[in-house]
Amino acid sequence: MRKVLFATCLGAMATFAGAAAANDELSKMSQDPKGWVMPAGSYDNQRYSKLKQINAANVGKLQVAWTFSTGVLRGHEGGPLIVGNTMYVHTPFPNKVYALDLSDENKIVWKYEPKQDPNVIPVMCCDTVNRGVAYGDGKIFLHQADTTLVALDAKTGKAEWTTKNGDPDKGATGTSAPLVVKDKVLIGISGGEFGVQCHVTAYDLKSGKQVWRAFSEGPDDQIMVDPEKTTVLGKPVGKDSSLKTWQGDQWKIGGGCTWGWMAYDPGLNLVYYGSGNPSTWNPKQRPGDNKWSMTIFARDADTGVAKWVYQMTPHDEWDYDGVNEMILSDQQVGGAARKLLTHFDRNGLGYTLDRATGELLVAEKYDPKVNWTSGVDMDKNSPTYGRPKVLDQYSTDKQGEDHNNKGICPAALGTKDEQPAAYSPETQLFYVPTNHVCMDYEPFKVSYTAGQPYVGATLSMYPPPGESNMGNFIAWDGKTGKIAWSNKEQFSVWSGALATAGGVVFYGTLEGYLKAVDAKTGKELYKFKTPSGIIGNVTTYEHGGKQYVAVLSGVGGWAGIGLAAGLTDPTAGLGAVGGYAALSNYTALGGNLTVFALPQ
């Protein structure tokens, strides 16, 4: 039935080929809680489902309904899409896609495996992860490791068009999930550790032709800002806003990569995303604010031109990428209804802005251990309005090259990395998977070679002094910038959260547990150990009148680098305990999808 309706829809769309039609189709589909048609479930990135068959009272009885092995070993980020009767499951390199028939024993309807040059593997900074596929216009969009964007027929898996988004020989790779908006598919690019000048690019849904490309740094036409109309904290950015903040041509290898989860507000027609670290990690080598790295962008979905920007960490000194997801919500602030954007940055600050204007409302630490800054200047009349105050002691620029800066919190992993948070409109709380890790950071001089790592810093990471847990799962009030509750986790929580109308919040752990907690209190209600550590995102859907919860396990990613070996143990030889224990004692590699449901 759904299928038939669906085909009709597609037919109609093909006839009109209207931008609005594609938008409407996907928007409408995303409002049906039975499916999960885009990476974050909906354009607002809330990762919230209205399904409530599974609730706080019965989630303790959850059972495994079925499982699926992806046949790939390395880190599995992202999660499956559920479109009608079909589930689409993706893998890390070689970037396989499986279409599974939920109505027929979860059989494989089709499988797609691109041919890629394995030389792209070592150009990927942190494992060969891929954060999932996108759906739109009857097609599945896959962003391959080698930056190829391919449109597959959702019914047959046949490639309809392909386009290349970057050059892996220069260190550009594809890891992020695409986002379909109207008649376009948007993708970012990775390569901040290789000096890539990163961008977000919009391709035509039907033909794969490039429509617009907006770089994170460079001349005004390349970064697609209007010097008079694009604003930063309410004021025009002015001419050459990026060029002025780099020495010479350094912006050409400036990084600012765009591999996080994008959001879209159909009412404002704005797309939101963050840019990553400026290259290199040695701040001494790139004087200036390095705009617009570490920036929240709001861009017009049709033209790509920026409406507003806000740089969170000017002149990064710690690799605090600004790529993390932007979560859109409508809440009351100070008695007025506001359209909000909330963002949990790698730098340890949780930001809430007005998403229409870019006005900064809240910037507070979401881990009390964050120490590199004493906070953001919120005084609108101050010359440093909106800037974080950096403590000299933790400034790797002030301390200079070849100086080992000790005890900086958070570590380069950030208080949170790409693992997306969730938001429940019912509790009005954000549910945030976090890292609780500090570091020593020593920058030194490096030289740039195209296609080679361009790092320039030595790091060691460890839990905050006196603590043994390397992660927390927290509930956050974005209006006030306060932690409502916080659960300790032995390892970083590197799994995307899911909030549901059943009053239950789900997330995965690096040991491999899928956990369900009470949305109000954080009380643990259920856990089950899946075959491998979880760095994927939890998804829910309904099929045949039954609610399911699905998650990819398969340990790896950046979490697999430091944690597989155990982090540096300052008490080595004195007996390592608890939190210092290596992840390899808990789990091993292997990609698996585990799907849960209540018993019959």
Binding site: N119, P122, Q452, T458, V555, A564, A565
Partner: protein
């Protein structure tokens, strides 16, 4: 250019001393020092750790370079990751020439069940100019002469090391 030089050097070494190094179990004890670089009885670079924990310059420099260029795959302190081997173990059996060859030319281990690829670093001055530093540090890790910590004290940077760095990295 770097790459050519290195591979040629590697081949020469393999030709002259390949059989000696084949079992990889060469005693890492330093028997002499040339301009601040310590050498084992075969003439390969090695580490020197004094009784008070002071390490030679190359061990310290290798620690830094390793944690910039190598650790994103091979894990902190040479401990390995979910997708790249622990070099503190590999260096127990890997000879100096094999090490130079692998770093300069890269490695590929692609099969139906795994895809492990190491890039060629021969053209990357941040690595190629510090081959001996990396080797000496990892050899110290493989021999348990240096633990999972940043070396607390180190010998001064030898002028020869500075000269080699300057000429290899180009102008500073």
């Amino acid at each position: 250019m770097h790459k050519i030089w290195l591979v040629a050097a590697t081949m020469a070494l393999v030709a002259s001393g390949g059989t000696v190094f084949a079992d990889g179990a060469v005693d890492p004890t330093a028997i002499k020092s040339e301009d601040g670089k310590y050498l084992d009885k075969e003439g390969s670079p090695t580490f020197k750790v004094a009784s008070d924990g002071t390490v030679d310059w190359y061990t310290y420099s290798g620690y830094r370079r390793y944690h910039s260029e190598c650790h994103v795959c091979h894990g902190p302190d040479g401990m390995g990751s979910t997708y790249a081997p622990a070099l503190k173990d590999s260096l127990k059996t890997m000879s100096y020439p094999d090490f130079l060859g692998a770093v300069a030319s890269g490695r590929k281990n692609v099969s139906s069940s795994q895809e492990n690829v190491m890039p060629a670093f021969g053209d990357n001055p941040n690595v190629a100019c510090y081959m001996d530093d990396l080797y000496v540090y990892l050899r110290a890790r493989a021999s348990d002469a240096v633990g999972r910590v940043r070396p607390a004290k180190h010998e001064d940077k030898p002028p020869a090391a500075q000269q080699a760095e300057d000429s290899c990295m180009g102008k500073r």
